[in-house]
């Protein structure tokens, strides 16, 4: 049992040095972020064991199994849904509904991407929607830039609404014991408001791009569905997962277990080749998360995160200043998430907030503030969220004149959008603070 100190100890400094070194490797991209996280985890266990504040058993306990397993299962379900062509079908139908009105097309595509991102990983959603969006824009002879940026930004916002929409939410939900419904009820209205205002802002910012065109969308949506039987099976499994997400708390099921129930349905109905199924899981992301959990577990075991909590407890404990603390958490989380990957930040700050709870602080509003901050902050810069990088890569690859999104070009729109959405969220958070308690 580790005894916590109110003073900075050598163990804390050692753990801090290892975490700092690992994060420098991750953010500098000297090594791939997964490699850096694995190295950091191994060093943390080795150093922690030698110093006596960490062990292999504690490292394994530090891994958030619910997050890792849920992501694994959902990646496999999406891997079965993706080749069916359902997303292409949706995109083509929406483009036809828009009837050549670029503004309507942007709203429809953004709405679809946002809603799908509420239940599926938003990176996957943008990976699927970006190429078909470029093709639609190419056929309509309009610039795909505003559509790609809107899809990435609004998928980030949409993903912030649910427990499973974004990995940080899942980590927050697991740490805070927040179920799917509670997360949706607390985050949904604020995120919907932010989404609506952000769409209006994007329509205004890109108004010169969004023109009415006469070109016909010469794409056959009927040919998009490659395997109707597989589509029905995958949709059935996904529907079961979504229904169980709403019920998981009442049934005492972990979200990860719910996802595995859906996966089992797919496995039984489709009997996919194991090599194909497992080949489509993004193991790199999962290994990255495992590495981060182990690194932060070491820092937590050293007592450093509790020490940080002690420095904040006097401010956070005051009920009159709790809302202010929440707003500070939201804005700090957003600004840091715009500059660095929001996952390491979330993994690091969760134990600090949990530590505050043991000191008598009502941390519930801080969870919502953190979720809003990390969810909206990613829109600020091109590196703030992986979905942004996917949109940029697609804009560069398409070769359409004027479509390439530069980092400066992203920030020119992203930073005002981030600040605008944060202001909307802050107003909602402040006005309805009692609902976040």
């Amino acid at each position: 049992m580790v005894e916590y100190s109110n003073m900075l100890t050598t163990d804390m400094l050692i753990a801090l040095a290892v975490m700092f070194g690992a994060y420098v490797l991750i953010f500098s991209e000297i090594l791939h972020r997964t490699s850096a996280a694995i190295i950091g985890a191994v060093v943390m266990i080795g150093v922690g064991t030698a110093a006596g504040f960490y062990s292999q058993d504690m490292a394994i306990e530090a891994i958030d199994g619910n997050t890792i397993l849920l992501l694994t299962a959902m990646m496999m379900v999406v891997a079965r849904l993706r080749p069916t062509g359902a997303f292409d079908y949706i995109a083509i139908m929406l483009s036809k509904f828009s009837n050549g009105d670029s503004r309507l097309l942007l709203i429809y595509l953004s709405l679809a991407v946002s809603m799908i991102s509420m239940f599926l990983d938003n990176v996957t959603t943008v990976i699927i929607f970006a190429p078909i969006t470029v093709l639609i824009a190419r056929i309509l002879q309009i610039n795909p830039l505003p559509f790609l940026m809107a899809e990435a930004m609004l998928s980030n916002i949409g993903g912030a609404a649910t427990l499973v929409g974004d990995p940080p939410n899942l980590m927050i939900g697991t740490a805070g014991g927040i179920d799917f419904n509670r997360f949706l009820i607390h985050m949904g209205p604020t995120i919907f408001l932010v989404w609506f205002c952000t769409v209006l802002l994007i329509l205004f910012v890109f108004r010169s791009y969004l023109i009415k065109v006469e070109n016909h969308i010469d794409l056959n949506e009927k040919k998009a569905i490659r395997d109707p039987r597989a589509l029905i099976q995958a949709c059935f499994a996904l529907a079961v997962i979504i229904v169980l997400f709403f019920l998981h708390h009442h049934l005492h099921l972990y979200p990860a277990y719910v996802a595995f129930i859906g996966l089992c349905i797919v496995l039984v109905l489709q009997r996919p080749e194991p090599s194909v199924l497992f080949g489509q899981v993004n193991w790199s992301v999962l290994a990255f998360f495992v590495g981060l959990f182990i690194i932060v577990g070491g820092v937590d075991s050293s007592g450093l995160l509790r020490w940080v909590g002690l420095q904040l407890v006097d401010i956070a404990r005051d009920p009159e200043r709790l809302m202010l603390t929440g707003l500070v958490v939201m804005w700090c989380a957003a600004l840091l998430s715009a500059i660095i990957d929001n996952i390491p930040f979330t993994v690091t700050i969760i134990p600090i907030i949990l530590g505050l709870e043991t000191m008598g602080v009502n941390i519930t509003p801080l969870w919502w503030a953190l979720a809003i901050g990390v969810g909206l902050g990613g829109n600020g810069t091109h590196i703030g969220a992986t979905a942004n990088l996917i949109a940029i890569a697609e804009s560069e690859r398409c070769g359409i004149k004027g479509a390439a999104i530069t980092p400066a070009g992203w920030m020119k729109v992203g930073i005002p959008t981030m600040f605008f959405s944060l202001m909307i969220a802050s107003i909602a958070y402040s006005l309805f603070f009692s609902t976040f308690l």
Binding site: I132, L135, R138, I139, L219, N220, E394, R397
Partner: protein, 150 residues
């Protein structure tokens, strides 16, 4: 059956050559690609019809969704091809670095295996450092028919 029996002798692509000239050499000999040689005459890459078309007029988003395309989009999407502008461009930006080669003493099955591995319809035959010609699946199939008088 020997590879020397099926080899298709062709010219090579040189730095600064126009795409139109490379296209002509490919179509005359019915091959999908040609070796790209530097000023010293060494093969340092290959000119591929597939790669050139892919780079110039078949963007990834279109190729990925090819099954969805209607019949009224091509002329709008590839003005450079329609106008013939691409024929006057130089080959250098469209060269692929990896080159599959084989020697005259190699068996046909090896040539077919390498083509399979490289997902290519052709392979270059080198006798030492000297370029001999292109081996294609089409030529192998033709010789097989001729050999067995099928």
């Amino acid at each position: 059956m020997k590879l020397m029996d099926v080899v298709v002798p062709t010219g090579v692509v040189l730095p600064g050559m126009k795409i139109g000239d490379a296209f002509r050499e490919c179509t005359i000999h019915n091959v999908g690609g040609l070796p790209y040689c530097n000023a010293e005459g060494n093969i340092v890459g290959r000119f591929s019809l597939r790669h050139t078309f892919k780079c110039l007029c078949v963007p990834d988003d279109m190729a990925h969704h090819a099954h969805l395309l209607g019949d009224r989009i091509c002329s709008e999407s590839t003005p450079e091809v329609v106008s013939g502008e691409i024929l006057n461009m130089t080959v250098d930006r469209y060269i692929i670095e990896n080159v599959a080669t084989i020697t005259p003493s190699s068996p046909v099955i090896k040539a077919l295996s390498i083509m399979e591995k490289f997902n290519s319809n052709y392979i270059f035959l080198l006798d030492g450092e000297r370029y001999v010609g292109v081996i294609t699946r089409m030529a192998i199939a033709g010789l097989l028919l001729k050999y067995h008088k099928f």
